[in-house]
Symmetry: C2
Subunit: 292 residues, 2 copies
């Protein structure tokens, strides 16, 4: 780790994630030159002024030539378009990684585009910063103490994996590995499903005739429960599309749990309702105690 | 309102709600004498030391004799037991109000116990402070800018209603009225259902074989979504019991909304999924903007 250093880093998509990685590596003096690639000239100019990037470019293929590492941190929907411009670099051994919230879809796209050269592609998912966006929100300590999950395949180049892991550790993150399948199952349960539930509840209330009155009586509990329903609809549409089978399995499991609870309430078996509530409260509060 | 003054206020259950009402009225010098009634001597002593109450008592009936107003702010489950000790006072014209989260059950209990004298009983529900508890958390400005819903019946004494409304306004609250039925329907949608959903999600995850791993990857969105699942299991069991028919109706409506969403995801109709997400995000963010 102490020998880790990047000569030329290319960040495609200089938003919250890409900008924060660049800022962290620059603060630690672990990168010589950062090229930011993006369409919005205003955003790139801002990144340049903030010293987050050293150079701006529009064409990923040209920028990534001879790069040590390419971080693709664009909205998931644009990832395939970016990768399609990188086959030559990847074939030449440039390491590419991403920051998307689902991993099976990224792996599949990388394999389709790069074939066996996909061994230089390391799928990644930093667990941080979903609430804000844009380079203006980028900060060198966004990943301090946060987790980054890498989901390499058995044939992914081990040195590439170690290189990407070192980059994230240099940003202060704790890096772990799991399979893309396992990643998507874990995050379906703890992230994707809660988002679907929160969106569904708000939409249910918003579509009622007295929605204005209902919202007027919503309080702090509602505010917390629905905070994630304020997230980007496009981003979460794409996550649900990419992880559809897992999300559907978890919606189904949740429906069953909810039906069971409704059955207890209907039967007046309030001791069973309390047992569910108590188990949940205990688990939640124990978890929250350790959560930073 | 400027003429509002209470001679003798009895607060049965000097916790967060009861203690905060007493503290607010005392700060405004709108009450002469506050008697706190409670079982826990330590808690009552703390209330006395803090100047929240002037006198402590154990028997509600004795304390409430000649009182101007009795606020019953005990856990909902204990409310009936308290009311059963007050028929003489209520018959004598002492005004009684409560602070419970459901109102049809309170109305029914008051009618059963007091008969026609229930006209002196004003059902109330302050929308504040569910997260904390105990007199130590009580504060004179807990209700500033918050809403209090009163649910009088057609035959509830108008002067009693105005008296209780004035008390809450003196605490800084905005007071509104609706029927007990409408109250329970509104709060089922915006409060009771979200609690049930949050508890159900946490319990679903906690009961999985890899729950420890799942929790370890839960992040800020999960924290917010599940905050209400850390609430008192007893309190929410009682709310679900008291409002069972409405809660069941809303669970059913939610399951239908969720099934519809699952159908869209299964069919790959991601434009429809996005439309639901977008409508929810718009409604939620508009609401949150105005929420204090």
């Amino acid at each position: 780790m102490q020998d880790f250093h990047i000569g030329k880093l290319v960040v495609v998509g200089v938003g919250l994630i890409g900008g924060s990685v660049a800022a962290a590596l620059k603060r630690e003096r672990l990168v010589d030159h950062v090229i930011g690639v993006g369409r919005s000239r205003a955003n790139m100019q801002q990144a340049l002024s903030a010293g987050v990037i050293d150079e701006m470019a529009q064409d990923p293929a040209t920028a990534a030539r001879d790069a040590d590492l390419v971080l693709v941190a664009v909205p998931v929907r644009q990832t395939a378009g970016v990768l399609q411009q990188l086959p030559q670099c990847v074939a030449d051994g440039v390491i590419v990684t991403d920051a998307g919230s689902t991993k099976r879809d990224f792996v599949q796209i990388a394999q389709e585009i790069f074939g066996s050269a996909a061994k230089n592609v390391v799928p990644g998912h930093p667990i941080a910063g979903a609430e804000r966006s844009g380079v203006a929100a980028a900060t060198a300590d966004l990943f301090t103490g946060k987790r980054v999950v890498l989901t390499p395949l058995p044939d992914t180049d081990a040195k590439a994996v170690e290189r990407v892991a070192s980059m994230w550790r240099a940003c202060g993150a704790n890096v772990m590995q799991m399979s893309p399948e396992h990643h998507d199952a874990v995050f379906s349960a703890v992230s994707h499903l809660p988002h679907v539930l929160s969106y569904a509840l708000v939409e249910m209330i918003a579509s009622r005739d007295n929605s204005e009155e209902l919202f007027s009586f919503a309080a702090g509990g509602f505010r917390d429960f629905t905070r994630i329903a304020g997230s980007s609809p496009e981003m979460w549409r794409d996550i649900c599309a990419a992880n559809a089978d897992q999300v559907l399995r978890d919606i189904d499991a949740f429906q069953q749990a909810l039906s069971l609870m409704a059955g207890h309430i209907r039967a007046g078996e309030m001791d069973k309702v309390e047992a569910v509530f108590a188990a949940a409260a205990k688990a939640r509060n124990a978890w929250a105690k350790g959560f930073k």
